[in-house]
């Protein structure tokens, strides 16, 4: 039962990844692509959690911690670049 739910969760996360990738490829302006990048990073954090859950390794979550810090800094730097303040 729980295995079925984990399968369903991984499928839904994969669909969300593909939808955000569509916006990244199509998005007309740079700001659209930055939003898609942010959403892809957050979906990546969930994917790392799922991989850690499937492989039963708690050490994998450290990578998710690095991501949670880096996505913030990345979006701040890109936004400063866009408004010509860097």
């Amino acid at each position: 039962m729980v295995d079925m739910l984990i399968y369903l969760a991984a499928t839904l996360a994969g669909l969300a990844l593909l939808l955000a990738l569509y916006r990244f490829i199509k998005g007309p302006s740079t700001a659209d692509r930055v939003i898609a990048f942010d959403v892809l990073t957050i979906i990546g954090i969930t994917a790392i959690g799922l991989v850690a859950l499937i492989e039963q390794r708690g050490i994998y979550l450290d990578v998710a911690l690095v991501y949670a810090l880096l996505s913030f800094l990345g979006v701040i730097v890109i936004a400063r670049y866009l408004e010509r303040g860097l």
């Binding site: 700001a31 942010d38 959403v39 708690g58 408004e83």
Partner: protein
């Protein structure tokens, strides 16, 4: 008791990834940049927090690390979306034709 906790964890995981899927769908369907920021960031923040809570229910030994990740996401994600929206407004990204009010431009003195 253990089975109930595992079932709760699985249901939280599916609910969280459903919110991630809704965020991705909003990212595709919304008409302009500001609506996409709204749909993408809020829905995915809630989705990630619910997923991390589900993983914490399935593996209670990882709860502190997952709580740390959740706190980082909860604090940093609204800041990044706000900074991005301000940058998009400042470089004059074109709004959807359905937009009827722009309080930030009114505050800065140039009425649309």
């Amino acid at each position: 008791m253990d089975g109930i906790l595992a079932l709760l964890g699985g249901i939280l995981l599916v609910a969280g990834t459903t919110f991630l899927l809704l965020g991705g769908l909003g990212l595709v369907r919304m008409p302009d940049v500001f609506n996409r920021i709204q749909a993408g960031t809020k829905a995915t923040t809630l989705g990630t927090l619910l997923s991390l809570a589900g993983i914490a229910c399935l593996q209670p030994a990882w709860a502190t690390k997952l709580l740390l990740i959740g706190l980082f996401i909860l604090f940093t994600n609204p800041i990044s979306s706000q900074v991005l929206a301000r940058a998009a407004h400042r470089i004059g990204t074109e709004k959807s034709p359905l937009t009827s009010v722009d309080r930030l431009a009114e505050d800065q003195g140039n009425t649309p």
